[in-house]
Symmetry: C2
Subunit: 139 residues, 2 copies
DNA sequence: CGGCATCCGACACGATACTG
DNA sequence: CAGTATCGTGTCGGATGCCG
């Protein structure tokens, strides 16, 4: 495993400290960051955003096919939430039958960039994690 | 919002295509990546890892206090899973009463780096998201 | 102190059926 | 085609209590 320098640790600690003013609401108050994070890091949301990053536009049923295993209900819920939060756009063409196209907004795309770094890391190391998991279970 | 160049889009598409071989398991087979991602991007896991990134070691009850709102049950579940997956280490000192210390492994720390990029983005733009959300609800 | 066991409620999710 | 409505269920998570 990559060794971590003390320098890195200090940098990281600084970054975290800066964030904690926001994410560490100790009183009973409502914490918006957690909400935003919850949707953005939801497993279905991630897959939806990734697919919309790959295909410029997708229609409902296509998306449902690609995001394998998602139910229609959950997909429509997530799409509505992601649209409300500004990540994706929804365009409806009043043809018969109707055509609805989903795509990433500029905002959504800028998020996708960050998301990709994370998912790439996870993809690269998932084998390691699976191995760790098995090693942990056995002995 | 930052405009997205065509060049960027192509790059992104390539990255995603590379990943999709793994995350897009269309058949009924078990998909490990989603599992790994599910734990790693869980809202509690994220907070736990962030706090362990800030404090080198933390004991159970301290952690419970910092990760505001988590129940003892869920915290111990997550800790065990995160330990099994190799992100955190658990050291028990057989004193009376026992002392147990949690910390990040090198692997966990390297994940923290990626995670930080994401949470920083979210922290920076959460206000935007909240505004979007309100704008969407109203009219 | 650090947890695990148990119980129980909420709600997130899936399946199905139906509509514009 | 793109959803919504309804219903049933199962899992997650919180509270409590006990033990090493």
């Amino acid at each position: 495993m990559e060794t971590v320098t003390e320098n890195q640790k200090v940098k990281v600690a600084k970054k975290i400290k800066k964030m904690f003013g926001h994410i560490d609401v100790r009183n009973a108050e409502y914490c918006p960051i957690r909400d935003v994070m919850a949707l953005a890091s939801d497993k279905w949301s991630i897959l939806i955003i990734l697919y919309l990053g790959y295909y410029p536009v997708l229609r409902f049923n296509k998306l449902k096919k690609y995001v394998y295993g998602i139910s229609g209900k959950v997909l429509s819920e997530r799409l509505k939430m992601l649209e409300a939060d500004g990540y994706i756009s929804r365009t409806m063409y009043p043809e018969v039958p109707v055509r609805v196209e989903y795509g990433l907004t500029g905002f959504g795309h800028s998020y996708l960039l960050k998301l990709l770094d994370l998912t790439e890391w996870i993809t690269a190391y998932s084998d390691t994690v699976i191995k760790n998991r098995k090693k942990f279970k056995k002995p």
